[in-house]
C-alpha cells in the first residue's frame, strides 16, 4: 500500500532530523554564586587577579574555553571568586575650610544600599499547574508589592503546603544564590516541580511556599480555593521531592 501524504511528510521529517548534529560539548555555566562578582569592582578585581594567576601558571589562557568542555574538572574563575563583598566606595576626603565661614557643610549622604526584600511585601501566586510524568509543576509569579526596591535571592527553600499551611513536601535549603534587584511592582517568575506525595489526602487548597534566607515564609496564593491535587505517589519507599527554578524576570 502506498504511504499516505502524512506518512511521507513524517518520514522525511524523521530522516532530516536524524542529520541534526549534537554540539561537540555539553553546555555548562560557570558556577559563580552569591551575587555576580563581575558587577562589583571588588569582584572584577578578583577575577582579574585569578586570570593573571592562571596565565602565570598556565602560560596563556585557554583559547577554546575549557569551562564548557567535557574535560574541564573545575572552573578556575568559579573557585577563585569568593562571596561578593561590597565594592569599596571612595570615601570623600574631608576638606577643612581655611576660612571660618559659618556655611553649613552638607553632611555626606550615605550611598543607598538595597536591603533584602521584606517577606511581607512579597506576593506570590500560582498561575497554573501542569503535569509531567509523575511530577506536578506550578507556575508561580512573585510581585514586589512593597514601596521600596529590594534584593531577592533567586533561590529559596520550596515547600508543597496544604490549606492549613502544613508542609506536605519539604524542599532543600539552597546554597548561596544569585540576587535579583526588584523594584516595586516588579514581577519575577519561577516554576516549582514536585513529585511522589504518598501522605494522606491534603486539606485544600494545596499551594507552594518559599522559605527565605531569614526563615520567613512566603505562601503562594493557590490557583483555586478547592485545588487539592498532589503529585502521584511513585512509591512510599522513594523520597518525596519539591524543587524550584531560580526566580527570573
Amino acid at each position: 500500500m502506498e504511504p499516505s501524504r502524512v506518512d511521507r511528510i513524517l518520514e522525511e521529517w524523521a530522516a532530516l532530523t536524524n542529520r541534526a548534529s549534537r554540539p561537540a560539548t555539553s553546555p555548562r555555566r560557570s558556577n559563580v554564586t552569591a551575587g555576580r562578582a563581575g558587577t562589583t569592582l571588588a569582584g572584577a578585581s578578583l577575577v582579574v587577579v585569578a586570570l593573571v594567576i592562571a596565565v602565570a601558571v598556565l602560560g596563556r589562557p585557554s583559547e577554546n574555553g575549557d569551562i564548557g568542555g567535557i574535560v574541564a574538572t573545575a572552573s578556575p574563575i568559579a573557585t577563585a571568586v569568593p562571596t561578593a563583598s561590597p565594592a569599596p566606595t571612595a570615601s570623600p576626603t574631608p576638606t577643612t575650610s581655611p576660612t571660618p565661614t559659618p556655611i553649613p557643610t552638607p553632611s555626606p549622604t550615605a550611598a543607598p544600599t538595597l536591603g533584602p526584600c521584606d517577606p511581607g511585601s512579597l506576593a506570590a501566586r500560582i498561575t497554573a499547574w501542569e503535569g509531567a510524568a509523575g511530577h506536578r509543576i506550578a507556575d508561580v509569579e512573585l510581585t514586589n508589592a512593597g514601596t521600596v526596591t529590594c534584593r531577592l535571592a533567586t533561590m529559596a527553600k520550596p515547600q508543597l503546603v496544604d490549606g492549613h499551611g502544613s508542609v506536605l513536601i519539604d524542599g532543600v535549603k539552597p546554597g548561596p544564590s544569585d540576587v535579583l534587584t526588584v523594584a516595586p511592582g516588579d514581577v519575577v517568575k519561577t516554576f516549582v516541580q514536585d513529585a511522589n506525595y504518598c501522605g494522606p489526602d491534603p486539606v485544600a487548597p494545596v499551594s507552594v511556599a518559599f522559605v527565605l534566607d531569614g526563615g520567613d515564609r512566603v505562601v503562594a496564593t493557590p490557583v483555586s480555593p478547592t485545588d487539592a491535587t498532589v503529585p502521584p505517589c511513585n512509591g512510599p519507599g522513594s523520597p518525596a521531592d519539591v524543587e524550584m527554578q531560580p526566580w527570573a524576570r
Binding site: 509531567a132 510524568a133 511530577h135
Partner: protein, 158 residues
C-alpha cells in the same frame, strides 16, 4: 565518587543520550531549525543549573521536554513573531544538499498549530504514548488525540 562529580557525569550522559530527543521536540514545537538548536542548548543549561537537585535515578527526559516547552513559550514568542515576518532561510548547520528538503517539510507542517505538530511528531515519529505526551504538553490524552486527528486531516487536505 564525589556528589558533584557524579552529577556532572549524569549530566554528560543525559546530554549524550537526549540531545537529539530535545532538539526534535523543540523542532516540532517551533518548526524552526535554528530556534530548536537554541532551545535545546537552553534546556540543557537549565538541566546543568539543576543538576545538583535532581534525582538522577528517575528519567530525566520528561523534565527536559517540559523545560523546553516552557522555554519555547516564554522566551521564543518574540522570536516566532519575528520569524513569521521575515523570509525563511535554510538552517546553516544542515548540509546544503538537504536544506531544500527541510524547507519543503517545514512548509508542509507550517499550517499546523504547535500542539498539533508536536502531538503528531511525538506520537507518530517518536512513538510516545498519548498519556506520556499529554503530560509533557500539559494537556489531556483526549485533547492530544483530537489534535493528532486534526493534524492528519490538515496535512492530507493541504
Amino acid at each position: 565518587m564525589a556528589l558533584a562529580e557524579s552529577t556532572e557525569l549524569a549530566y554528560e550522559r543525559a546530554f549524550q543520550t537526549h540531545w537529539g530527543d530535545v532538539f526534535r521536540f523543540a523542532l516540532a514545537w517551533t518548526n524552526d531549525w535554528a530556534a530548536a538548536e537554541d532551545l535545546a542548548q537552553e534546556a540543557f543549561l537549565r538541566l546543568w543549573d539543576h543538576r545538583g537537585r535532581l534525582d538522577w535515578d528517575r528519567p530525566v527526559l520528561p523534565w527536559l521536554l517540559v523545560a523546553t516547552r516552557r522555554l519555547a513559550t516564554d522566551r521564543f514568542r518574540a522570536l516566532r513573531r519575528r520569524l513569521s515576518l521575515s523570509p525563511v532561510s535554510p538552517p546553516e548547520t544542515l548540509d546544503q544538499g538537504v536544506q531544500a528538503r527541510w524547507l519543503d517539510v517545514r512548509a508542509a507542517l507550517d499550517g499546523l498549530s504547535q500542539l498539533e505538530r508536536t502531538a503528531l511528531v511525538m506520537t507518530a515519529v517518536e512513538g510516545t504514548s498519548y498519556d506520556e505526551a499529554a503530560l509533557v504538553l500539559g494537556t489531556t490524552a483526549g485533547a492530544l488525540r483530537a489534535a493528532v486527528s486534526r493534524a492528519r486531516t490538515k496535512l492530507e487536505n493541504a
